[in-house]
Point group: C2
Chain length 203, copies 2
DNA sequence: CGTTAAGTACACCGTCCTGTGTTCTTACGT
DNA sequence: ACGTAAGAACACAGGACGGTGTACTTAACG
């Protein structure tokens, strides 16, 4: 990863500066925040010339947007694609987050940048909606009466837990998970604690 | 408030510069964020010389801390001291927040400043704990089985709603209020809910 | 080989930021 | 009326920031 990735036969140019920049962004933006991380420091950490950075990204704003774009696959698919869990367990697994996680980078970016028009802010909105939609899908799979509502509720719990973890310096996800369990049980009519049967509830 | 406050007989010095500074802080910090509000702009809005500002506050950090300190009475007592409501109604009234509210300034400050050691961050922690404690008190008053847990849960809901309102640009408090209603009903031992009026419960 | 693109090193610009020094003016209380 | 302290006006230091210009070096590939 730190080494250049030589493609099969196609483009093999470059020595991976862009990757190093994004990698350093992930570390520094999360550790120090976006506004408190200057381009000079970032380039030094990435071992990349400042000039090179600005040949890969038009500006810091676009770099931040691209930095956020990198989170999608890991977070989204990490939980929702686990076939070893029942839908209900998957919903709860979304709250199994190590307390060391700094803060949802989308929340941090939206608050730090403070501009709803910023490309990163728009991406944050899209991401949050996507998570809620994924939760709703899983809720539907689990047989919830109102999947959209449950998805929105669980998404709110995740954000609340992330925020409180940051502000209070104490893990808020156990509390959120407890609430989630109540909501899930209330939303699934049959209260079949575990629907091990994978029957598609075509409704 | 905007006028100088002449004490009874004691100190009558000053023409209210400090008040104007704090007042302008409330407006600008909430509208634009803390980091994006420079001292020059703030002093101009407060119609205060920059030199005067730095004679009232050692630095911007302390000004921010004092700015946060101003929120305590209004927010805390605004909801919890309403004697016209039952304890249960008071818990739910905490979610009646106009959607125009920018964002809980404590969350914004903690995320923007990004330093847990910052005086404002410490104050934000204290405030969040105080709110949870107040909610727990009210929950106890309402007859909840585990008031501390319910207080913590409701506090998490409020923060989640505030965060999502900011990130998604859509009011998140109705969703949070719906969850709160479920939690409250689950936490108060069944029929013992202190509703004085049971008329339009189901409506 | 030579070409070409990617990357480096480094100085530099303009802007904004927090914070200070200095001098002058106002208003209050005695 | 006078002294004193709060405040105004204004320039300026010192640094961080985002971003650019320029000349040089490296590595891939024909």
């Amino acid at each position: 990863m730190t080494e250049l990735e030589k493609g099969p036969t196609g483009r093999r140019r470059g020595r991976g500066a862009r990757e190093r920049i994004l990698s350093a962004s992930q570390q520094l933006f999360r550790e120090q925040g976006i506004n408190r991380t200057g381009m000079d420091q970032l380039c030094a950490a990435a071992q990349v010339s400042k000039r090179t950075a600005y040949q890969h990204f038009p500006g810091k704003d676009e770099l931040v947007a691209e930095y956020l774009r990198r989170f999608d696959p890991s977070v989204l698919s990490g939980v929702f694609d686990r076939t070893d869990l029942t839908p209900r367990e998957r919903l709860l697994a979304a709250f199994d987050i190590p307390p060391t996680t700094p803060l949802c980078p989308y929340i941090a970016a939206a608050v730090e940048l403070h501009d709803p028009q910023h490309p990163a802010s728009q991406h944050a909105r899209d991401y949050k909606k996507a998570v809620a939609a994924r939760l709703a899908d899983t809720a539907r799979e689990a047989g919830a009466a109102d999947p959209e509502q449950l998805g929105e509720q669980l998404a709110l719990l995740i954000d609340g837990a992330a925020t409180r973890t940051r502000v209070l310096n104490a893990d808020g996800f156990p509390t959120a998970a407890a609430i989630a369990a109540v909501l899930i049980d209330n939303a699934i009519p049959a209260t079949a604690s575990d629907d091990r049967r994978r029957e598609e509830v075509s409704s």
